[in-house]
Symmetry: D3
Subunit: 296 residues, 6 copies
C-alpha cells in the first residue's frame, strides 16, 4: 500500500523529489539484478488501440498492491529491482521503436541484469528477443497468448502485433518457441504451427510442466500477452477473446517458472482505457509482482 | 480481423460501397442457407433498457474476431450466411413488432433457409417461434437463460420479456420446452414448471446431453438468452444475475447442438451500453460464430 | 422485480408516498426480527474511496432482483425485515461515526433483533462488533475478506480499514476470529496471525465446515468484505485483489451459515462508481438476499 | 449538503428510518402546497432509453446541493414541499401509465396543491396536462424543448414522446401553447406550427418576456424538457441536440416564471446513464430547486 | 429519427438488406453530387488514439438526428449524397493509407462529384488535398483547428497529424492556407506562420468573413478538425484543448461557407471512446448535416 | 507533447531513469524559483471523494499539452520550475496532513521560492496559508470558487473543505479575503460574508480588476477551486455546481494576476474519476501552465 512506492531523492534543502516506480522497485540501477522498463508503443494495433498507456497505468496503480506475496512468502523489498521508467518510442516509426527496445535490452543484458519489459502491444517483444537471442544463442521462448501471432504478413506489414511470433521464429527457427493458451488466429497459422514450426498448446496450459522440465537449464525468454486471461478477468485489452485462463491458472503457471532460467520477460497488451474499473491493471500489477518474485 | 468483414458492392465507376455485416457473413441471399437478422426491440424491458442496440453492436464489433474457429476447425468463409441487417420495428407497438418478426422469419423458413435472429430483448423470440411452429408442427425449443420467463402476466401485460416462454408454451404445449441454467424467477414460475409443463434444468446445463439425445432428428429452435452467462463474463445485459455459466461451459454446450436439427435460433439480451469494455459484445460475437459453425 | 420493493405510507388524502427499501424488506420495525441499515462511511480508505455510496446503491439496484431464492426455496416476503435506511455519519470524525454505529446496533440487539449492516468501508464493522460483544460476551467472528486487516497501525492511525480486525481482536482476544479467503497483507500480518491470534484460512474457504461445526450454538457475527470475491465478479471495490472466490463458492458458503446462530452481520466495501456495469451491486444484492434467507 | 435531505420517521423504540427525498422537501403531505412525484416511464423513447431512472437520480444526487439559493435569496426549508416518491407505472402499457399520472395529478390539484412531476420521457406530460386542463379550463402551456414534439404520429403510434405536444394541442387548441428553444423536428412540424397552431420560438428564449406578460394571471403549466439545454451542459439525455441554451440562460428564464401563476410543472428527459459524471443530474437538481423557489 | 437512415436493397425473394449510411444519404452513386466516405486511420496520433472509430460512430449515431435543418430550412432528402462506407486503410503503413485516400478522392473528383471525408486523424487530409490540388490547381484551403499542425517534423516523422498542414503547404505554397481557431502549438509554428506562410487567425473565427469574400469563386477545400470546438462541447477527441469555439459559433461559420465553391471537405479527429455520453458524435453528425446542406 | 516531460537522470551505465513531472517543469530544485507539489488528500470531502488523485492526473495528462502559450507568448521552458512530486499525507489524520503541508510550504518560502500546490480537496489550502501568513504578515488571499467555504463548522468538524476559508479568516481577519464566483452555500455563510468579513463577489468575476489594483504590491496567495468553472467545462469534481465560469473567463482572469505579487498559489478539487473523457484534467493542466507563466 502506501509506503515504499516512490524513490526519494534528497535535495540540498531537505526537499525531496518523488519518482514514480512500480511498487517498491526502487533499488539503484547498479545494485539491481532485474530492470523493469516500459515500451509505450501500439502503432500496429489493428483493432482497439491504447496499450501505449499500459506501463504507465501499471506503475500508477501499483499503489493499491502490497509488496508481500502470501503465495510465495516473499517480498519485493527483499529483491533488487530497478524501474527505469518508460522508453521514448517513435509512434509510427516501427523500425526505430524496435531498435530502441533492442538497444536498451542489450545494454541491460550486457551488464548481467534481467530485463522485464512492460508493453505496449505485442510487437515490442521482437525488439527484446532480438537482443536476447544475440546474448543467448540457445534461447528458447515461452509464449502465453490468446492469439497465435504467426501470420507471415498482416495488412501488408511484416512487422505487426499479428506477426510478432513469426518474426521471433525467423530468428530462432523450428522448435524453440512454446505457445500456450492459443485460441484465436487464421486457419493458416494453426496449420503452419502444426507442421512443427512451433510447439503450440491450444486453449490452455496443458503441457507446461513437460515443457519446463525439458527447458531446465536453458536460457528462456518469457512473453506474457495478458489477453491469454479470460476477458472476465482482464477486459482492458485491445482484442478481448472470451474463453481464456482464470487468474489462478495463470498465477500457478507463473510460480512454475521458478524452475527455469528466465533471462528476460515481458507483460504486454494491457489497454487501460477499456477497463475503467481498474481490475485489469490490478491483475497486471499482481502478475508482475509474482513474476518478479518467481524468477529472482 | 480486418479482412472479409464487409460485403463490397461494385458500382459503375469502380467506386465501391462497403456494407457492414457480421464478420464474413456476406453471401448473397439466394446462395445462403442461413440468414442473420437483427430485431432491435426492448419495449417491455422492466429494468435497464438498451438491448435495442445489441444487434448493431455485434455487427460492428465482429471486426475484432477471426472467421476461423480453432475449436471446431471450421471457418465462416466456408459456409453460406446472409446478413439481412436489422428489421425496422415499432417501439411501443408490441403486436406490430412481433408480427414483423414473424413475417420475416416465415419468409426465410419458406425458402428453406435457417433464420438466426439477434435481439433485442427476449420477447422477440415469440415472433420467431410463431413462424417456426407453423413451419414445423413438431417443433421443440431449447432455452438457455438465467430467468424462467414463465409468468402468465407481468405488470398487466401478457406480452413481455418476463412472459415470453409462457407464451411459447401457449403455442407448443407441455413437454416441448427444455430450459437450462434457470436461476431466477418468482416462486410461482418454478412451481408451474415443476408441474411438468416445461422441463426446467435449474442453475446449470445438467441434463443437456440427454435432452439432445432425445430430440435427435426433431426440428429444434434454440433460444439463447445471453444472461445465462455469469455477469463476470457478460455484464452488458439488462438484468445481471450472478451465479451463471462460464463462457467455456456455454461454448461446449453449443458444440453439442451440432447433433440436432436446429431449424432456427436466436441470441438475445445483449445491452452494450452497460459494458463499455466491449467484452460482452465480444462474447456474443464469438458465440454467434460458433453457433453458426455448429449448426451448419 | 417491480413489486413489493417500496414501503407505501398512506396519507390522509389517499396520496401515497413510495419509499425506497431493499427489495421487499418493508416490514414495520416492531414486527421485524432483522434490521438492515446502511453505514455510509469511507474516511480511512487509503486507495480508491467511494464505499460511502454502497448501501444506497444496494437499495436502488435491488429493483432488478426477485425476492424469491430458487437456491433455498425461500422468499424474502416470508420473513420479517425492516430497512432503516442509512445512518448519518460524520465524514472525517472516525470516533463519532463508530459511536453512532455502536449505538444503533446496541439498540437493535437490545430489542432482540438481528442487525445487518451495509457498508461503507470495513472499519464500520468495529462499531457493530463493539455492541455485539457487549450483548454476547461469547461472541465469535467469521470474517471473509481478501485482506487480513490485521495491522496494528496504518499511516499513523489505529482506527483504519486496514486495522479493523486487529481492533476486533483487541475486544475478543485469541482464537475467536476465523478468517477465510485472505490473500493480501503485509508479511507481518500473516506472521502475527500464524502465531495463533486468529484462525486464518488463506486464499479460499477450506476449513469452513469444520469452523461452523465448532461454533454451533455460539453467537456469531459474520462480516463479509465483498472483495473476497474475485474482481472479475466484483470489480466495484476500492482495492481489487485478483485471485478471489467465484460467486458460487461464496454463495455455497453463505448457505452453510444457516447452521450457525448469526446474531449480526455486515456486507462491506462495495464501491459502485468503480463498476458502471452494475454487476458488483447486483452481486451484493443477491448475496444480501441469500444471507437474510439463510440466517432467518 | 448532508442535512435535511431525509425525512425521519420516529419508531417506537427510538429507531429512526431515514427516507430519501429531494433535498429538504420533507414536509408532510397535508402541510405541503407543492407535491413532487416521479414518473419513471420511457416506453416510447425511440433512440436511447433510460429516462425511467431520472427521478430516482435527482433524489439521490440532491445530496450534493444546498437548500439555499443565493440567486433568489430563498431557501427550500422555508417552503412546504412534499416528495411522494415515484409512481409505479406499467412499462409498455402507455394508456395505463398516462391514466395513473393523470389520476395522481388530479388528486393533487383537487386538494389545492401544485404538482411538480419528474420524468421519465416527455410523454408523461400528457397525463399531467389532461388533469390540469380539466381543473383549469383556461390553461396555457409554456414548453421549453430542443424538439418540437408536434408530429401527428410517430412509428405508427399517436402517443409518443415525439407527438406529446401535438396531443396537448388536441386538448387545448390553437394559441395556448408557447414553445421556446426548438431546434429539431421534421419540416412538417415547423410548417404546422408556423400555421398558427402553437407559438413556436425557435432556437432560444426570445419572446419569453412578452409571453409571460401576456399570460399574467392565467393558469400556466410549465413543461421543461431538459434537452433544451446544450448537451455540453446536459449530456445525460436520450437525444442530445447540440446548439442549446446555456445553464444561466435557462436559470434566468426560470426566475421570470415567478410572475406567472404556475399551477403545475414538470422536468423531463434526464437519462442519467448517459452522463456518468453526474453533471446532468446536478443541473436537474439545481433547476428543480430554483423552479420550486420561483413558483412558490 | 427512425426513417430513411438505411438504404434498402431488394432481393429476389422480397427479403431486404438494410445498409447503414449516414442519415438519409442513400442516393445511388451515379445520381449523387456529393460522396461521403470514411478514412479510419490514426496511426500517427501521438497522445490518445481512437479516431479510427470516428466515421463508424457518425454513421451509427446519425440515427438520433433529423434530416431536416430548421436553421437552413433544408432537408438532406432534397440533396443527392452517396455514402460509400469506410475505406480499408493499412494501419501503420502511412504511405499506403495516404495513397488509398488520394486515389479514392481523385476518382470522385474526376466524376464531377464533391468528396466529403470523415476521419480518422488529421493526417488523412493530406491524401485528399493531394488529389484536390491536382484537380484544382488554384485550390485554397480553409482550416479550422485547435492546433497549428505546422511542424516540419514530429518525433522523426514528416508525415504526422502534427505536420499535416505543413505538408499541405508544401503542395500549395504561401498564402493559400487560411487557419482559424488555432490555440496550440510550438512557438516555432506560430513564428513560421507569422512569417506569412499561412494566414493564421488565432483563438477564434475573426476574419472569416473577409477570407470568404476574398476566396469567392475560387475552389476551396475545407478541413474541419473538430477539436476546434471547446472540449465542453466536444470531449471525444485525442487531444482536448480547452478554450475553443462554442457549437453555435462553429455552426454559424459553416452557414457562411455557402458563399464559397467548396470542392471537397473533411471532418476529422472524432475519437468516440473518450466521450461515452455520445455528445461529441452527436455534434459531429449535426455539423456534417449542416455542412452538406450548406455546400450543396 | 512528447518531449521535455520527464527529467532524465543519468546512471553510471548510460541507463536513464524517467521521472514524471508536470510538462517541462524539470529544473533542479536549487535553480527553481517556483516549486510545484501535490497534496493528495480528500478526507473531509462530504459528497463524492476522489480529489486525492488530482495531482497525479495533472502530471500524467500534461503529456497532451504544449509547453508554449500562444496567449501569453511565453514557454514553460523559459522559466524555472521544480516539480517535487506528491507529499505523503495521512488519510484520516487531518491535523497531521495539514502540518505536513505547512512544513513543506514554509521550507519552500524560506528559500525564497514560490510554492504552487496541486490538490486534493480545498482544505489543503489551510496548511499552505498558515505558512504563507507567517512568512508574509500582510498577506491577502484571492479565492475563486463555486462554494463560499465559510461555515464555522461542518458535520461537527471545524477543519473541513466546507470551512476552509473561514479558518483562513481566523488567521487573516476581516477584509483580507477576496472571493469570486461564489454561487453556493448556506444562507448563513452569505450573511456572514455580507457583514464585511470577506469581500465576496457572487456568481462571476466582477470587481476583479479593482481588487487587483487595490492589492498591487501586497503579497497575495491565490487559491483556485477549479469548481468555479462551469461543470460543462469541468465535470471532474466532487460537487459540481452548474452556472459557473467559462474556461476563457477564467483564463483571462489568470492573465490579470501578472500585475500582482503572487507569493503562493494552489489549484484544488480536480477529481479525475468523475470525468473519464479527461477534459477536466486537460483544463487543469492548461490553467496551471498559464498560471505559472503569468506569475513568474
Amino acid at each position: 500500500m502506501m509506503t515504499n512506492q516512490r524513490e526519494v531523492i534528497m535535495q540540498k534543502s531537505g526537499i525531496k523529489q518523488n519518482v514514480e516506480t512500480f511498487l517498491s522497485c526502487d533499488k539503484p540501477y547498479h545494485e539491481a539484478d532485474t530492470v523493469i522498463f516500459g515500451a509505450p508503443f501500439d502503432s500496429t494495433t489493428s483493432y482497439r488501440p491504447g496499450t501505449r498507456f499500459g506501463s504507465r497505468a501499471i506503475r500508477a496503480e501499483s499503489y493499491g498492491l502490497e509488496s508481500y506475496s502470501p503465495y510465495q512468502d516473499k517480498d519485493l523489498e527483499d529483491i533488487a529491482v530497478f524501474d527505469g521508467g518508460d522508453l521514448e518510442l517513435s509512434i509510427g516509426r516501427v523500425d526505430l521503436a524496435l531498435e530502441a527496445i533492442e538497444a536498451y535490452t542489450a545494454q541491460v543484458l550486457a551488464e548481467g541484469k534481467r530485463p522485464v519489459m512492460l508493453g505496449g502491444e505485442h510487437l515490442v517483444t521482437l525488439g527484446a528477443v532480438r537482443a536476447a537471442a544475440k546474448a543467448y544463442p540457445e534461447l528458447a521462448v515461452i509464449h502465453f497468448d490468446a492469439h497465435a501471432d504467426l501470420r507471415q504478413e498482416y495488412l501488408g506489414a511484416t512487422l505487426s502485433h499479428a506477426t510478432v511470433i513469426r518474426r521471433v521464429w525467423d530468428i530462432l527457427g523450428d522448435g524453440r518457441i512454446h505457445q500456450f493458451g492459443i485460441r484465436s488466429g487464421e486457419r493458416e497459422e494453426f496449420r503452419w504451427a502444426a507442421a512443427g514450426r512451433v510447439a503450440m498448446h491450444k486453449f490452455d496450459l496443458q503441457g507446461l510442466e513437460e515443457t519446463i522440465a525439458a527447458l531446465k537449464g536453458r536460457p528462456v525468454y518469457f512473453t506474457l500477452d495478458l489477453d491469454v486471461l479470460d476477458p472476465a478477468v482482464f477486459p482492458g485489452t485491445g482484442t478481448p477473446e472470451p474463453g481464456g485462463l482464470s487468474f489462478m491458472e495463470l498465477l500457478q503457471a507463473i510460480f512454475k517458472l521458478k524452475d527455469l532460467t528466465v533471462i528476460g520477460a515481458d507483460l504486454v497488451e494491457l489497454s487501460p482505457v477499456y477497463d475503467q474499473s481498474g481490475v485489469s491493471t490490478a491483475a497486471a500489477c499482481k502478475l508482475l509482482r509474482e513474476l518478479l518474485l518467481a524468477i529472482s
